[in-house]
Protein backbone atom coordinates (compact mmCIF):
# COMPACT_ATOMS: atom_id res chain seq x y z
CA UNK A 1 0.00 0.00 0.00
CA UNK A 2 1.03 3.56 -0.60
CA UNK A 3 0.74 5.99 2.28
CA UNK A 4 1.22 8.91 -0.11
CA UNK A 5 -1.86 7.85 -2.11
CA UNK A 6 -3.93 8.63 1.00
CA UNK A 7 -2.52 12.16 0.99
CA UNK A 8 -3.54 12.58 -2.65
CA UNK A 9 -7.05 11.27 -1.99
CA UNK A 10 -7.61 13.34 1.16
CA UNK A 11 -6.09 16.55 -0.21
CA UNK A 12 -8.58 19.41 0.01
CA UNK A 13 -7.57 20.33 -3.53
CA UNK A 14 -8.49 16.93 -4.94
CA UNK A 15 -10.78 18.09 -7.77
CA UNK A 16 -13.98 16.32 -6.78
CA UNK A 17 -16.40 19.21 -6.29
CA UNK A 18 -16.15 19.52 -2.51
CA UNK A 19 -15.17 23.19 -2.60
CA UNK A 20 -18.76 24.19 -3.45
CA UNK A 21 -20.26 22.42 -0.40
CA UNK A 22 -20.19 23.55 3.24
CA UNK A 23 -21.35 20.33 4.94
CA UNK A 24 -24.21 22.18 6.61
CA UNK A 25 -22.00 25.00 7.89
CA UNK A 26 -23.67 27.71 5.78
CA UNK A 27 -27.08 26.94 7.24
CA UNK A 28 -25.63 26.75 10.77
CA UNK A 29 -23.93 30.12 10.28
CA UNK A 30 -27.15 31.63 8.97
CA UNK A 31 -29.09 30.27 11.95
CA UNK A 32 -26.53 31.69 14.37
CA UNK A 33 -25.29 28.29 15.54
CA UNK A 34 -21.74 28.95 14.34
CA UNK A 35 -20.39 32.39 15.24
CA UNK A 36 -16.76 31.75 16.16
CA UNK A 37 -14.03 29.13 16.27
CA UNK A 38 -15.42 27.51 19.42
CA UNK A 39 -18.81 27.05 17.76
CA UNK A 40 -17.07 25.64 14.70
CA UNK A 41 -15.29 23.11 16.92
CA UNK A 42 -18.59 22.00 18.47
CA UNK A 43 -20.28 21.79 15.07
CA UNK A 44 -17.43 19.72 13.62
CA UNK A 45 -17.39 17.40 16.62
CA UNK A 46 -21.10 16.75 16.24
CA UNK A 47 -20.80 16.16 12.53
CA UNK A 48 -17.79 13.87 12.97
CA UNK A 49 -19.57 11.54 15.39
CA UNK A 50 -22.78 11.37 13.33
CA UNK A 51 -22.62 11.94 9.57
CA UNK A 52 -18.83 11.55 9.69
CA UNK A 53 -18.96 8.16 11.39
CA UNK A 54 -21.59 6.87 8.97
CA UNK A 55 -19.62 8.13 5.96
CA UNK A 56 -16.40 6.64 7.31
CA UNK A 57 -18.03 3.25 7.86
CA UNK A 58 -19.55 3.23 4.36
CA UNK A 59 -16.18 4.17 2.87
CA UNK A 60 -14.36 1.52 4.88
CA UNK A 61 -16.87 -1.15 3.85
CA UNK A 62 -16.52 -0.19 0.18
CA UNK A 63 -12.73 -0.31 0.49
CA UNK A 64 -13.11 -3.72 2.15
CA UNK A 65 -14.84 -5.08 -0.95
CA UNK A 66 -18.50 -5.03 0.15
CA UNK A 67 -20.92 -4.73 -2.80
CA UNK A 68 -21.05 -0.96 -3.52
CA UNK A 69 -24.66 -1.08 -4.69
CA UNK A 70 -25.75 -2.59 -1.37
CA UNK A 71 -23.75 0.12 0.40
CA UNK A 72 -25.38 2.77 -1.79
CA UNK A 73 -28.78 1.57 -0.58
CA UNK A 74 -27.51 1.55 3.00
CA UNK A 75 -26.39 5.17 2.53
CA UNK A 76 -29.84 6.15 1.24
CA UNK A 77 -31.44 4.53 4.27
CA UNK A 78 -29.14 6.52 6.56
CA UNK A 79 -29.82 9.88 4.88
CA UNK A 80 -33.39 11.07 5.61
CA UNK A 81 -33.05 14.48 3.88
CA UNK A 82 -33.70 14.35 0.12
CA UNK A 83 -31.47 17.42 -0.31
CA UNK A 84 -28.58 15.61 1.39
CA UNK A 85 -29.14 12.48 -0.71
CA UNK A 86 -29.00 14.63 -3.84
CA UNK A 87 -25.83 16.38 -2.66
CA UNK A 88 -24.17 13.07 -1.73
CA UNK A 89 -24.91 11.59 -5.15
CA UNK A 90 -23.74 14.71 -6.96
CA UNK A 91 -20.48 14.68 -5.01
CA UNK A 92 -20.16 10.94 -5.63
CA UNK A 93 -20.47 11.49 -9.36
CA UNK A 94 -17.85 14.24 -9.28
CA UNK A 95 -15.48 12.16 -7.16
CA UNK A 96 -15.97 9.27 -9.59
CA UNK A 97 -14.64 11.38 -12.45
CA UNK A 98 -11.51 12.39 -10.54
CA UNK A 99 -10.96 8.89 -9.13
CA UNK A 100 -11.19 7.21 -12.53
CA UNK A 101 -8.59 9.63 -13.85
CA UNK A 102 -6.30 9.14 -10.85
CA UNK A 103 -6.68 5.38 -10.28
CA UNK A 104 -8.30 3.68 -13.29
CA UNK A 105 -10.05 0.55 -12.07
CA UNK A 106 -12.77 -1.79 -13.42
CA UNK A 107 -14.67 -1.62 -10.11
CA UNK A 108 -14.99 2.17 -10.47
CA UNK A 109 -16.09 1.76 -14.10
CA UNK A 110 -18.74 -0.78 -13.03
CA UNK A 111 -20.18 1.49 -10.32
CA UNK A 112 -20.16 4.47 -12.71
CA UNK A 113 -22.12 2.40 -15.22
CA UNK A 114 -24.59 1.16 -12.60
CA UNK A 115 -25.12 4.64 -11.09
CA UNK A 116 -24.61 7.14 -13.95
CA UNK A 117 -26.21 9.95 -11.89
CA UNK A 118 -23.84 9.21 -9.04
CA UNK A 119 -23.55 6.85 -6.08
CA UNK A 120 -23.28 8.21 -2.54
CA UNK A 121 -19.94 9.97 -2.15
CA UNK A 122 -18.57 7.84 0.75
CA UNK A 123 -19.15 4.66 -1.27
CA UNK A 124 -17.23 6.10 -4.22
CA UNK A 125 -14.55 7.31 -1.82
CA UNK A 126 -14.09 3.81 -0.41
CA UNK A 127 -13.92 2.27 -3.86
CA UNK A 128 -11.41 4.93 -4.94
CA UNK A 129 -9.29 4.15 -1.89
CA UNK A 130 -9.37 0.46 -2.80
CA UNK A 131 -8.35 1.30 -6.38
CA UNK A 132 -5.47 3.35 -4.98
CA UNK A 133 -4.26 0.36 -2.96
CA UNK A 134 -5.37 1.80 0.37
CA UNK A 135 -6.90 -0.04 3.33
CA UNK A 136 -10.43 0.25 4.78
CA UNK A 137 -8.97 2.14 7.73
CA UNK A 138 -7.36 4.61 5.32
CA UNK A 139 -10.69 5.11 3.55
CA UNK A 140 -12.36 5.70 6.92
CA UNK A 141 -9.75 8.32 7.82
CA UNK A 142 -10.29 10.14 4.52
CA UNK A 143 -14.10 10.17 4.93
CA UNK A 144 -13.95 11.22 8.58
CA UNK A 145 -11.51 14.02 7.82
CA UNK A 146 -13.64 15.27 4.94
CA UNK A 147 -16.66 15.44 7.22
CA UNK A 148 -14.96 18.20 9.23
CA UNK A 149 -12.50 19.82 6.81
CA UNK A 150 -15.29 20.92 4.45
CA UNK A 151 -17.26 22.84 7.11
CA UNK A 152 -14.03 24.35 8.49
CA UNK A 153 -12.89 25.85 5.17
CA UNK A 154 -16.44 26.95 4.34
CA UNK A 155 -16.70 28.77 7.68
CA UNK A 156 -13.46 30.63 6.98
CA UNK A 157 -15.15 32.02 3.86
CA UNK A 158 -18.57 32.59 5.45
CA UNK A 159 -17.48 34.34 8.66
CA UNK A 160 -14.05 35.60 7.59
CA UNK A 161 -12.90 33.44 10.48
CA UNK A 162 -9.16 33.49 11.15
CA UNK A 163 -7.84 30.57 9.06
CA UNK A 164 -5.32 29.67 11.75
CA UNK A 165 -8.14 29.23 14.27
CA UNK A 166 -10.07 27.01 11.86
CA UNK A 167 -7.02 24.85 11.23
CA UNK A 168 -6.41 24.60 14.98
CA UNK A 169 -9.99 23.31 15.35
CA UNK A 170 -9.17 20.49 12.94
CA UNK A 171 -5.88 19.72 14.66
CA UNK A 172 -7.61 19.45 18.07
CA UNK A 173 -10.08 16.98 16.57
CA UNK A 174 -7.34 14.68 15.24
CA UNK A 175 -7.41 12.16 18.13
CA UNK A 176 -11.20 11.86 17.81
CA UNK A 177 -10.83 11.45 14.05
CA UNK A 178 -8.57 8.48 14.71
CA UNK A 179 -11.14 6.96 17.06
CA UNK A 180 -14.00 7.45 14.64
CA UNK A 181 -11.96 5.94 11.80
CA UNK A 182 -11.13 2.91 13.95
CA UNK A 183 -14.81 2.42 14.89
CA UNK A 184 -15.75 2.73 11.24
CA UNK A 185 -13.18 0.16 10.15
CA UNK A 186 -14.41 -2.22 12.84
CA UNK A 187 -18.00 -1.76 11.65
CA UNK A 188 -16.85 -2.48 8.09
CA UNK A 189 -15.36 -5.78 9.27
CA UNK A 190 -18.68 -6.72 10.89
CA UNK A 191 -20.47 -5.61 7.72
CA UNK A 192 -18.48 -8.19 5.73
CA UNK A 193 -19.92 -10.94 7.93
CA UNK A 194 -23.34 -9.58 8.89
CA UNK A 195 -24.27 -7.26 5.99
CA UNK A 196 -24.81 -3.47 5.82
CA UNK A 197 -27.18 -3.62 8.81
CA UNK A 198 -24.04 -3.77 10.94
CA UNK A 199 -22.97 -0.31 9.79
CA UNK A 200 -23.64 2.63 12.16
CA UNK A 201 -26.74 4.74 11.56
CA UNK A 202 -25.98 7.80 13.68
CA UNK A 203 -28.03 10.83 12.65
CA UNK A 204 -27.81 14.57 13.28
CA UNK A 205 -31.36 15.94 12.99
CA UNK A 206 -30.25 19.57 12.69
CA UNK A 207 -28.00 18.68 9.75
CA UNK A 208 -30.91 16.94 8.05
CA UNK A 209 -33.53 19.66 8.64
CA UNK A 210 -30.95 22.39 8.01
CA UNK A 211 -30.09 20.87 4.63
CA UNK A 212 -33.74 21.07 3.59
CA UNK A 213 -33.99 24.72 4.66
CA UNK A 214 -30.71 25.52 2.91
CA UNK A 215 -31.80 23.90 -0.35
CA UNK A 216 -34.85 26.20 -0.43
CA UNK A 217 -32.88 29.42 0.00
CA UNK A 218 -32.72 31.62 -3.10
CA UNK A 219 -29.43 33.22 -2.03
CA UNK A 220 -26.52 31.09 -0.86
CA UNK A 221 -22.80 30.69 -1.42
CA UNK A 222 -22.61 26.89 -1.16
CA UNK A 223 -24.52 24.11 -2.86
CA UNK A 224 -25.14 22.34 0.45
Amino acid sequence: MSRAALLVLADGRFPAGGHAHSGGAEEAVGAGRIRDAADLGAFCRGRLHTAGLVAAALAAAAADGTDPLALDEAADARTPSPALRTAARRLGRQLMRAARAAWPDPALDALAAARPRGAHQPVVLGLAARAAGLTPLDAAHAAAYESVSGPATATVRLLSLDPFDATAVLARLAPELDQVAARAAEAARRCAAEGPGALPAASAPLLETGAEAHAARPVRLFAS
Binding site: P15, A16, G17, A98, W103, P104, A112, F222, A223
Partner: protein
Protein backbone atom coordinates in the same frame (compact mmCIF):
# COMPACT_ATOMS: atom_id res chain seq x y z
CA UNK B 1 -5.45 -1.93 -11.03
CA UNK B 2 -2.47 0.06 -9.88
CA UNK B 3 -0.55 2.54 -11.93
CA UNK B 4 2.99 1.57 -12.75
CA UNK B 5 5.65 4.23 -12.60
CA UNK B 6 6.20 3.98 -16.33
CA UNK B 7 2.54 4.15 -17.34
CA UNK B 8 2.22 7.14 -19.66
CA UNK B 9 -0.59 9.54 -18.82
CA UNK B 10 -3.44 8.92 -21.22
CA UNK B 11 -6.47 11.17 -21.18
CA UNK B 12 -9.66 9.23 -21.75
CA UNK B 13 -13.35 9.85 -21.98
CA UNK B 14 -14.14 9.50 -18.29
CA UNK B 15 -12.96 13.03 -17.63
CA UNK B 16 -12.00 16.38 -19.13
CA UNK B 17 -11.98 17.63 -22.64
CA UNK B 18 -11.86 14.62 -24.91
CA UNK B 19 -13.47 15.94 -28.11
CA UNK B 20 -15.73 12.91 -28.39
CA UNK B 21 -18.67 11.80 -26.33
CA UNK B 22 -18.66 8.26 -24.89
CA UNK B 23 -20.68 7.06 -27.91
CA UNK B 24 -17.98 8.31 -30.32
CA UNK B 25 -19.83 11.36 -31.71
CA UNK B 26 -18.11 14.73 -31.58
CA UNK B 27 -19.23 16.80 -28.62
CA UNK B 28 -20.19 20.47 -28.61
CA UNK B 29 -17.54 23.16 -28.75
CA UNK B 30 -17.19 24.75 -25.31
CA UNK B 31 -16.36 28.43 -25.09
CA UNK B 32 -15.71 30.02 -21.69
CA UNK B 33 -16.45 33.67 -20.93
CA UNK B 34 -14.59 35.14 -17.97
CA UNK B 35 -13.80 38.59 -16.61
CA UNK B 36 -14.39 40.97 -13.72
CA UNK B 37 -17.78 41.58 -12.11
CA UNK B 38 -19.97 43.92 -14.13
CA UNK B 39 -17.91 43.88 -17.33
CA UNK B 40 -20.85 42.59 -19.36
CA UNK B 41 -20.34 38.83 -19.55
CA UNK B 42 -24.01 37.98 -19.13
CA UNK B 43 -25.13 40.67 -21.56
CA UNK B 44 -22.60 39.36 -24.11
CA UNK B 45 -23.82 35.79 -23.60
CA UNK B 46 -27.42 36.95 -24.12
CA UNK B 47 -26.47 38.83 -27.29
CA UNK B 48 -24.48 35.84 -28.59
CA UNK B 49 -27.45 33.55 -28.02
CA UNK B 50 -29.71 35.88 -30.01
CA UNK B 51 -27.14 36.13 -32.81
CA UNK B 52 -26.35 32.42 -33.07
CA UNK B 53 -29.42 30.48 -31.95
CA UNK B 54 -30.98 30.28 -35.41
CA UNK B 55 -27.82 28.79 -36.95
CA UNK B 56 -26.58 26.51 -34.17
CA UNK B 57 -27.84 24.26 -31.37
CA UNK B 58 -26.82 26.22 -28.26
CA UNK B 59 -26.80 25.88 -24.48
CA UNK B 60 -25.43 27.99 -21.63
CA UNK B 61 -23.90 27.16 -18.23
CA UNK B 62 -23.71 30.05 -15.75
CA UNK B 63 -21.52 30.12 -12.63
CA UNK B 64 -23.28 32.50 -10.28
CA UNK B 65 -21.44 33.53 -7.16
CA UNK B 66 -24.26 33.33 -4.66
CA UNK B 67 -27.59 33.49 -6.48
CA UNK B 68 -29.17 32.32 -9.70
CA UNK B 69 -29.16 35.93 -10.89
CA UNK B 70 -27.28 35.39 -14.16
CA UNK B 71 -29.23 32.28 -15.09
CA UNK B 72 -32.46 34.10 -14.26
CA UNK B 73 -31.48 37.11 -16.36
CA UNK B 74 -30.99 34.83 -19.36
CA UNK B 75 -34.30 33.08 -18.64
CA UNK B 76 -36.13 36.40 -18.30
CA UNK B 77 -34.64 37.66 -21.53
CA UNK B 78 -35.77 34.37 -23.08
CA UNK B 79 -32.60 34.09 -25.12
CA UNK B 80 -32.90 30.29 -25.01
CA UNK B 81 -35.52 27.82 -23.81
CA UNK B 82 -35.12 27.21 -20.03
CA UNK B 83 -33.96 23.61 -20.45
CA UNK B 84 -30.89 24.93 -22.30
CA UNK B 85 -29.65 27.05 -19.38
CA UNK B 86 -28.01 25.49 -16.30
CA UNK B 87 -26.61 27.26 -13.22
CA UNK B 88 -23.62 25.85 -11.32
CA UNK B 89 -22.95 26.81 -7.69
CA UNK B 90 -19.36 27.71 -6.89
CA UNK B 91 -18.97 27.91 -3.08
CA UNK B 92 -17.65 31.50 -3.01
CA UNK B 93 -14.80 30.66 -5.39
CA UNK B 94 -15.80 31.20 -9.03
CA UNK B 95 -12.24 30.69 -10.29
CA UNK B 96 -11.99 27.30 -8.57
CA UNK B 97 -15.04 26.05 -10.46
CA UNK B 98 -13.62 26.95 -13.87
CA UNK B 99 -9.95 26.18 -13.28
CA UNK B 100 -8.90 24.08 -10.27
CA UNK B 101 -11.92 21.82 -9.80
CA UNK B 102 -14.01 21.77 -12.95
CA UNK B 103 -16.10 18.72 -12.06
CA UNK B 104 -19.43 20.52 -11.48
CA UNK B 105 -19.10 22.46 -14.75
CA UNK B 106 -18.15 19.37 -16.74
CA UNK B 107 -21.18 17.62 -15.31
CA UNK B 108 -23.45 20.53 -16.28
CA UNK B 109 -22.08 20.59 -19.83
CA UNK B 110 -22.44 16.83 -20.24
CA UNK B 111 -25.95 16.82 -18.76
CA UNK B 112 -27.02 19.52 -21.23
CA UNK B 113 -25.66 17.56 -24.16
CA UNK B 114 -27.46 14.48 -22.89
CA UNK B 115 -30.82 16.14 -22.21
CA UNK B 116 -31.18 18.62 -25.10
CA UNK B 117 -28.35 17.55 -27.46
CA UNK B 118 -26.77 17.04 -29.80
CA UNK B 119 -25.40 20.56 -29.38
CA UNK B 120 -23.00 22.59 -31.52
CA UNK B 121 -21.92 25.05 -28.85
CA UNK B 122 -22.00 25.42 -25.07
CA UNK B 123 -21.16 28.84 -23.62
CA UNK B 124 -19.77 28.57 -20.06
CA UNK B 125 -20.00 31.90 -18.25
CA UNK B 126 -17.76 32.33 -15.22
CA UNK B 127 -18.87 34.17 -12.12
CA UNK B 128 -17.36 37.65 -12.01
CA UNK B 129 -13.82 37.34 -10.68
CA UNK B 130 -10.41 38.94 -10.87
CA UNK B 131 -7.86 39.39 -13.64
CA UNK B 132 -6.16 36.04 -12.95
CA UNK B 133 -9.24 33.83 -13.48
CA UNK B 134 -8.90 31.64 -16.56
CA UNK B 135 -10.64 28.48 -17.74
CA UNK B 136 -9.00 25.08 -17.53
CA UNK B 137 -8.30 23.45 -20.89
CA UNK B 138 -10.12 20.47 -19.40
CA UNK B 139 -13.34 22.50 -19.45
CA UNK B 140 -13.19 25.08 -22.27
CA UNK B 141 -11.83 24.68 -25.79
CA UNK B 142 -11.49 28.44 -26.15
CA UNK B 143 -12.00 31.38 -23.85
CA UNK B 144 -13.14 34.96 -24.13
CA UNK B 145 -12.07 37.46 -21.47
CA UNK B 146 -14.45 40.40 -21.10
CA UNK B 147 -13.31 43.69 -19.54
CA UNK B 148 -14.96 47.09 -19.87
CA UNK B 149 -13.81 50.65 -20.33
CA UNK B 150 -15.42 51.81 -17.08
CA UNK B 151 -13.33 49.40 -15.01
CA UNK B 152 -10.28 51.56 -15.73
CA UNK B 153 -8.35 52.01 -18.97
CA UNK B 154 -5.17 50.70 -17.31
CA UNK B 155 -6.47 47.11 -17.14
CA UNK B 156 -4.98 46.00 -20.49
CA UNK B 157 -1.62 47.45 -19.38
CA UNK B 158 -1.80 45.58 -16.05
CA UNK B 159 -2.24 42.33 -17.97
CA UNK B 160 -2.65 39.13 -15.98
CA UNK B 161 -3.54 35.68 -17.31
CA UNK B 162 -7.06 36.66 -18.47
CA UNK B 163 -5.97 39.68 -20.49
CA UNK B 164 -2.75 38.12 -21.74
CA UNK B 165 -3.71 34.56 -22.66
CA UNK B 166 -7.46 34.47 -23.49
CA UNK B 167 -8.16 33.44 -27.07
CA UNK B 168 -10.21 36.62 -27.48
CA UNK B 169 -10.13 39.80 -25.40
CA UNK B 170 -13.31 41.88 -25.50
CA UNK B 171 -13.14 45.49 -24.32
CA UNK B 172 -16.81 46.15 -23.63
CA UNK B 173 -19.00 49.26 -23.18
CA UNK B 174 -16.99 51.43 -25.57
CA UNK B 175 -20.01 53.77 -25.69
CA UNK B 176 -19.17 54.76 -22.10
CA UNK B 177 -15.53 55.65 -22.78
CA UNK B 178 -16.23 59.33 -23.34
CA UNK B 179 -18.22 59.54 -20.09
CA UNK B 180 -15.62 57.89 -17.85
CA UNK B 181 -12.55 59.43 -19.46
CA UNK B 182 -11.14 56.14 -20.78
CA UNK B 183 -8.71 56.30 -23.67
CA UNK B 184 -9.82 53.59 -26.14
CA UNK B 185 -6.78 53.97 -28.36
CA UNK B 186 -4.50 53.49 -25.39
CA UNK B 187 -6.46 50.42 -24.24
CA UNK B 188 -6.19 48.90 -27.72
CA UNK B 189 -2.45 49.64 -27.91
CA UNK B 190 -1.80 48.23 -24.43
CA UNK B 191 -3.81 45.09 -25.26
CA UNK B 192 -1.83 44.62 -28.48
CA UNK B 193 1.39 44.99 -26.49
CA UNK B 194 0.29 42.32 -23.98
CA UNK B 195 -1.25 39.87 -26.44
CA UNK B 196 0.84 39.96 -29.59
CA UNK B 197 -1.15 38.30 -32.37
CA UNK B 198 -4.13 37.27 -30.20
CA UNK B 199 -7.29 39.14 -31.22
CA UNK B 200 -8.94 42.04 -29.38
CA UNK B 201 -12.46 43.32 -30.11
CA UNK B 202 -13.76 46.67 -28.89
CA UNK B 203 -17.50 46.23 -28.36
CA UNK B 204 -20.58 48.23 -27.50
CA UNK B 205 -23.76 46.22 -27.20
CA UNK B 206 -25.80 49.45 -27.35
CA UNK B 207 -24.50 50.86 -30.60
CA UNK B 208 -22.82 50.08 -33.91
CA UNK B 209 -22.34 46.43 -34.74
CA UNK B 210 -23.23 45.24 -31.23
CA UNK B 211 -22.14 41.66 -30.62
CA UNK B 212 -21.56 41.10 -34.37
CA UNK B 213 -17.74 40.91 -34.37
CA UNK B 214 -17.65 38.60 -31.33
CA UNK B 215 -20.34 36.41 -32.89
CA UNK B 216 -18.26 36.24 -36.06
CA UNK B 217 -15.25 35.11 -34.01
CA UNK B 218 -17.38 32.40 -32.37
CA UNK B 219 -18.53 31.23 -35.82
CA UNK B 220 -14.88 30.94 -36.87
CA UNK B 221 -14.17 28.77 -33.83
CA UNK B 222 -17.14 26.56 -34.67
CA UNK B 223 -16.01 26.18 -38.28
CA UNK B 224 -12.52 25.20 -37.12
CA UNK B 225 -13.93 22.77 -34.53
CA UNK B 226 -16.04 21.04 -37.18
CA UNK B 227 -13.18 20.96 -39.69
CA UNK B 228 -11.10 18.87 -37.32
CA UNK B 229 -13.96 16.43 -36.63
Amino acid sequence: MHLDHDTPFQPHHTHSADPHRPDGTRRALRIGLGGPVGSGKTATVAALCRALRDSYALAVVTNDIYTREDAEFLLREAVLPPERITAVETGACPHTAIRDDISANLEAVEDLEESVGPLDLVLVESGGDNLTATFSKGLADAQIFVIDVAGGDDIPRKGGPGVTTADLLVVNKTDLAVHVGSDLARMAADAKEQRGELPVILQSLRSGEGVGPVAAWVREQLTAWRATA
